[in-house]
Structures are given as structure tokens and as C-alpha cells.
């Protein structure tokens, strides 16, 4: 056990799984870097250094730099997975799904079903998402709701270094195609992470806080924000359960419903654009299945329905803040109080 960053946790998961299973290969743009150039090999180790050092362990046969050709190599990952490898493909920014989505949602996601169950597609697409990097509209989106919409895909959104390592190991061992979302602002976040390999099962929510008054559901970077908000309102005597579902698909709706039945109030925090996102999805499910338990209207905390802006002044307004989550929690408490009165 030692303190590791989100970046180190992911690197360690990749290294340990590649050591354990010789069919695991890594591919993507500049996952090593410097290919064909005169200078340093492993020059980048991924654009933010996440895969740095793996080349020296596993060599060019398993650490596969690709040209900038997302359809080509994401499709190649799908074809490799269905024929016997366990590829981990890095789609540098999830915003680039636009140039390879067919290979993900029409091919990889559907092989098993279309082929009557006689195929398995154990591939992982690691991809960066999220705002806060001053990276503007084409490098900052969340987009996991789009993947969550597709049957056949699994969608993993880790919220901390510990979670990232265990969930990535599970992703690699999983026999279905997995989209693994890494928030680019979280790479330097550190916490205690076991040195040994471990897998966190999918579809099993983490109860980050357990309280009595309000259930807050959040994903990825928003989990930490939600926990901060919960700690802040605790000083005012409001006790919150904070649920990190870990995976958007499969979704541990059972734990969310169980918690809402205990607290009677729900706030869902989602960094994705507000229409048809995970917040609306979870809110609809809770409204449909646990309406009688609700003491107050459900609150959703999401960005505005606008592209992610560039200017720091605007981007900071765009991303859901701890203060906005706190306000939503307080609003559900006062709404509930009014209704009770």
C-alpha cells in the first residue's frame, strides 16, 4: 500500500494485467510516442504520461503506437478482441468518438447479440473526458451518456485512484466491451492504493458517505465534489448518503432506490450536458420506482445546455460546483419541510 496518483494507479493496473495475461495489448496514438522519430522512444507515454514506462516492460509488440486513425485502431481493437486478444485502446479524448463511433456502437457493442451469443468482445477503450482543463468545446465533454445508451457496452467512470485501479483491472478481465472514462483533471489526485492487483466488480455502487436525510448520486469527478458538499451540510445538521455508482452501465439502481427509500430525498450530480444524461436517467428511474418514498422533488445538478467554453471565467461557471450541490441539498430539505408542514 502506498500513495499513488490516479495516473499511477492506471499505469499500475495496465502493467499488472499485461504481466498476468499475455493477450493484453495496448494501442493508441502516442501511447509510447516517438515511433519512427530519431529521438527518444516512449517519448510521451500517452499525451498526459499515463502509459509511460510500459514500453520498456512489454516492447513494441504489445505497446502499439498507432497513426492518428481512430476508426482504424478502435475497429482493430474490436476485431482483435473478437479473435482472441484483450486489447486496451486509448481514445485520447472521448470527444474523438465522432470519428470512430461506428466501430464502437455498431460493431463491438453488437457482436455478441447479432451473432447469437457466439462471440465475445473483451476490449477496453480508455478515454479522457471532462471540463476544467481549459481545453474548450472539442476536448472537454463528458459524453458517457451516449455510450450508456448503447446495449452491449459497459461504461465505467472511476472517481478516485483506488477506484481507477480496481475498475480498470475488472475492465480488462471483463468479457464485454468497456468504455473507461478518465477525468483529465484528476490524474494528479493521490490516495492510498494497494500494490497488489484487485478488481472492483461492475454494477456495485460505492457508498462514499452514509447518512439519513438526502441521497446524493454522483459520478467520476463529481463524487469528490458531492462528498465535500455532504461534509459541508453536515455542519448544518443535514446528513447525506453519497453514492458513487462506479459504472453507468451496468447501473446499480437497486442501491440508489434502497437509499432513496431510506432518505426520501435525491440529488443527482452529473458533469454531462443536462439533456438525456445520467442525472435525468436516474431521476426518471427513481420517480418511476420510488415516487412514494420521495419527500421532496428530485434535484439535478448539471452544467447548462451549452458546449464547454474555453475562457476560464466561463468554464468555472460551467462545471457543477460544490456550492451548487450544497444548494441543491438544502433546497430538497426545505422543499420537504414545506411539504411536511
Amino acid at each position: 500500500m502506498s500513495r499513488k496518483s490516479f495516473r499511477q494507479a492506471i499505469n499500475e493496473a495496465l502493467r499488472q494485467e499485461m504481466e498476468r495475461d499475455p493477450t493484453v495489448v495496448l494501442m493508441g496514438e502516442d501511447v509510447a510516442g516517438g515511433m519512427g522519430a530519431a529521438g527518444e522512444q516512449d517519448a510521451w507515454g500517452g499525451p498526459l504520461g499515463v502509459t509511460k514506462g510500459l514500453l520498456q516492460h512489454f516492447g513494441r509488440e504489445r505497446i502499439l503506437d498507432t497513426p492518428i486513425t481512430e476508426s482504424g485502431f478502435i475497429g482493430a481493437a474490436a476485431g482483435a478482441a473478437v479473435t482472441g486478444l484483450r486489447p486496451v485502446a486509448e481514445l485520447m479524448f472521448v470527444d474523438f468518438m465522432g470519428v470512430c463511433f461506428d466501430q464502437i456502437f455498431n460493431q463491438a457493442a453488437k457482436f455478441k447479440y447479432m451473432f447469437g451469443g457466439k462471440a465475445k468482445t473483451p476490449m477496453v477503450i480508455r478515454t479522457m473526458y471532462g471540463a476544467g482543463f481549459r481545453a474548450a468545446s472539442q476536448h472537454s465533454q463528458c459524453l458517457y451518456p451516449i455510450f450508456t445508451h448503447i446495449p452491449g457496452l459497459k461504461v465505467v467512470i472511476p472517481s478516485s485512484p483506488y477506484e481507477a485501479k480496481g475498475l480498470l483491472i475488472q475492465s480488462i478481465r471483463d468479457d464485454d466491451p468497456v468504455i473507461f472514462f478518465e477525468h483529465k483533471v484528476m490524474y494528479d489526485l493521490e490516495e492510498e492504493v494497494p500494490d497488489e492487483p484487485y478488481a472492483i466488480p461492475f454494477g456495485e455502487a460505492n457508498f462514499v458517505r452514509e447518512g439519513d436525510d438526502v441521497t446524493i448520486v454522483a459520478f467520476g469527478r463529481m463524487v469528490g465534489f458531492a462528498a465535500q458538499a455532504a461534509d459541508a451540510v453536515a455542519k448544518a445538521g443535514i446528513s447525506c448518503t453519497v453514492i458513487d455508482p462506479r459504472t453507468a452501465s451496468p447501473l446499480d439502481l437497486g442501491s440508489i432506490l434502497e437509499s432513496v427509500r431510506e432518505t426520501g430525498r435525491l440529488v443527482v450530480v452529473d458533469e454531462a450536458s443536462p439533456r438525456c444524461n445520467l442525472a435525468t436517467d436516474i431521476s426518471a428511474a427513481v420517480a418511476e420506482q420510488a415516487f412514494e418514498a420521495l419527500k421532496a422533488p428530485i434535484r439535478m445538478v448539471s452544467p447548462p445546455h451549452a458546449p464547454v467554453p474555453f475562457s476560464p471565467a466561463l468554464e468555472d461557471l460551467y462545471v457543477p460546483s460544490v456550492a451548487r450541490i450544497e444548494a441543491a441539498v438544502r433546497a430538497t430539505m426545505s422543499a420537504g419541510a414545506r411539504r411536511a408542514a
Binding site: 500500500m1 483506488y162 480496481g166 494497494p194 500494490d195 497488489e196 492487483p197 484487485y198 478488481a199 472492483i200 456495485e204 457508498f207 452514509e210 461534509d231 453536515a234 455542519k235 442501491s255
Partner: protein
């Protein structure tokens, strides 16, 4: 100037660097007697009560509930009702200034780290504390536990003994490959540890299944066992609460695991969220689930134990002590009867299955009595 007593963040165990004030059990202005519990402190391992070092009035809470502070930081103070506010303010300011200076000069304190030893059985993870030339005491945890279980007991012994708390195979940082599932097979880990450290003999302390394992080791290697202290040992009677084991293995949600772990303690509030998270995390390590399931299946079944070491224990001739919490809800304290001479049989009030966590000082005293 009235006497002012500082309440500071306590240090529970070797590894504790900081703690969180989980709750104040007294309000400002309330009377507190010496030894009375004033606050609950949550550490990364366990929640425990801060007992007041003196009598007085809790005049100031410096760290409200929820605040996390380094060990030694001022969290509140006691004095008499007559002490003026200004004097209290001055005391707080001075204490905090001194503490800040101390922190600044503190060479980044590091908690002692366990060592991973390569042994013929695989990696054995051990945390050592105490003088290298002192008599050795090996601390053996129970089913699903780990060397962390001795975080209070080990420092209490480390002044006098060379203490070695190990993770058994299948647990913590040790190999997840079991040498076998019987206490006799698992006892190989104790021998492997002693060999790896070049120790011929050690005093053995075993808890629960670790008690059965220590007993098996003493029986197999009488010459290497200087004394034996058993805490709520397994193998000494038929009955056991396998409901606890089933719940422990099945729990996925912190709430469910908390409920299971509360069975271990007379005071359920000792179970901290961090303890629960640590166990959930440990259980996810590759190989742990299989190892724990195999151990449980081999040793326990539907309310009874499959292992019987009472006769083995009776045949041993070495200094022996048995400690059992009267409120043990996992293995009933009635099984202690006749295990050791009456003066070596310690049935503790208000203690459950975890005497070494619940009353570590008393357990250390008993060990000292027989280990010399």
C-alpha cells in the same frame, strides 16, 4: 490563573498520524470527570473514545466534529468555570503556535511500514516493533483479520519485546496462496516467519482462528514456543456464530459489513467507516475471496467448528494464558472454562471477540505476566 488541561488528538497505535473528531460526547460547559469519555476519535483503522486526562469543565471545543487534525493538535480544553474567556483564548493561541512550530520542525513523520519477507510459503507481510535483542512475541490474527488488529496491543508490548505482527497467508499483504486450510498447515506461516527473521523461539499470541493456529504451532514445535496467549481462540469448543462469518463474506455494502463487524465488539461504535472500507478493499485483492472461502469452509460449518484443539492444548507444557470477552458474540466465552488454570484465565467484562482491540492494556498486562 486557573488550571487549564489541553485535550489533544490522541495517538492510537503505531500508524496513526492524524485523526478525526467523529463526535463530542460532552457539550461546552459540561462537567467532565477524569477517565470519562469526552469525544470519539476516528482513525484510519478504528473509532475509539478519548478519555479525559483530568476533571474539569469542558470550556472550549477547538476542533468541532468532522475536523481532521494531526496527532498532538489541540482539540479542546478543560478548566474551571471561573477561568476568564480571555485566558482561554490566550491558552489556545499559545498551544496552537507551539504545535505549529513542532509540526514545522518534525521531520516528515512516517508510520512504520510492514516488511514483505520472501519465505518458502511465499510472501509473508510482517510489522515489527520493539528492541531487536528483546524476547520475540509473534501476534497471530484471526479469520479475515490482519496485522492491523494489533494496532493497540503491539505498541503496548513493543517497549519490552521484539513484536512481530504478521498477515497470515490469504490475508493482508501476504501471499494469497494458502499452505493448506487446517490450523496445522497455516501454522507453517509462523515457522516461516521465525526462520526468515532468524528467530529460534517466540512467545505466541493468537486470536480466534489465529489462536488455533498458534496452538497447532506450539504443539508441533514445543521448543520454539516460549509461551502461548490465546484470545477468544477457535478450536476449543463446538459452537461458533457462523452467521458472522457468512455475513462477513457476503457483505458488499459498507452498511452490511458494518453490521457484521459490530458482532465482534461489545461496543459496536468501535467499528469505523475506515475499518469497514479497509476490509472491503482487502477482500477485493486477487486471491483473497478464494482463500477466505476455503478457510471458512474447512474450519467452520453451520454453527459449529470443524476443528478441535482442546486436547492438543491440554497436552502442552508451556506458560499459557487465555483471555476471553464475556460478551463475545462469535465464540462463546463459556468455552474458556477449564482451558487454563484459574489464575491464567481472564474473562473480561464489557469485551467482545476483540479483547486486543477493546482492552489492549489488559491483554498486554496478561502477556507480560506469562512472558516475563
Amino acid at each position: 490563573m486557573g488550571d487549564i488541561t489541553a485535550l489533544v488528538m490522541p495517538k492510537f497505535g503505531l500508524a496513526m498520524l492524524e485523526g478525526k473528531v467523529a463526535a463530542w460526547l460532552k457539550a461546552e460547559g459540561e462537567q467532565v470527570s477524569a477517565g470519562e469519555e469526552v469525544a470519539e476519535i476516528e482513525t484510519s483503522k478504528i473509532t475509539a473514545a478519548l478519555e479525559s486526562p483530568a476533571a474539569g469543565t469542558l470550556r472550549r471545543i477547538v476542533a468541532p466534529a468532522g475536523e481532521t487534525l494531526p496527532v498532538g493538535a489541540l482539540i479542546g480544553l478543560l478548566t474551571d468555570a471561573a477561568t476568564p474567556e480571555a485566558e482561554i483564548d490566550a491558552f489556545v493561541a499559545a498551544a496552537q503556535e507551539r504545535f505549529a512550530e513542532a509540526m514545522a520542525s518534525r521531520v516528515s513523520e512516517v508510520a512504520p511500514e510492514p516488511t514483505r519477507l520472501d519465505t518458502p510459503l511465499g510472501t509473508i507481510n510482517v510489522l515489527e516493533a520493539g528492541p531487536a535483542d528483546a524476547a520475540a512475541v509473534v501476534l497471530v490474527h484471526g479469520f479475515g483479520g490482519g496485522l492491523d488488529n494489533f494496532l493497540f496491543l503491539q505498541p503496548a508490548l513493543a517497549g519490552r519485546y521484539r513484536t512481530l505482527a504478521l498477515d497470515l497467508p490469504g490475508h493482508g499483504g501476504s501471499t494469497k496462496t494458502l499452505p493448506g486450510t487446517s490450523p496445522e498447515a497455516m501454522a507453517g506461516a509462523i515457522g516461516a516467519l521465525l526462520d526468515a527473521r532468524g528467530l529460534e523461539r517466540a512467545h505466541l499470541v493468537g486470536h480466534s482462528l489465529g489462536g488455533a493456529i498458534a496452538t497447532a504451532f506450539a504443539a508441533a514445535h514445543p521448543g520454539r514456543s516460549a509461551s502461548l496467549t490465546l484470545i477468544s481462540p477457535a478450536g476449543m469448543g463446538e459452537e461458533i456464530n457462523t452467521g458472522y462469518i457468512t455475513a462477513f463474506l457476503a457483505a458488499r455494502r459498507p452498511k452490511a459489513l458494518t453490521a457484521a463487524l459490530e458482532t465482534l465488539f461489545a461496543d459496536p461504535s468501535l467499528v469505523s467507516r475506515e475499518m469497514v472500507d479497509a476490509i472491503l478493499r482487502f477482500r477485493r485483492l486477487d486471491g483473497v475471496e478464494a482463500a477466505l472461502s476455503a478457510l471458512a469452509a474447512a474450519n467452520f460449518a453451520e454453527g459449529r467448528q470443524k476443528i478441535a484443539l482442546r486436547a492438543t492444548l491440554a497436552g502442552l507444557s508451556l506458560p499459557l494464558a487465555v483471555i476471553w470477552g464475556r460478551e463475545d458474540r462469535v465464540i462463546p466465552a463459556a468455552q474458556a472454562e477449564g482451558l487454563a488454570p484459574p489464575e491464567r484465565l481472564h474473562l473480561l467484562d464489557h469485551v467482545g471477540h476483540m479483547a486486543h482491540l477493546e482492552q489492549s492494556a489488559e491483554v498486554a498486562r496478561v502477556i507480560g505476566e506469562i512472558a516475563g
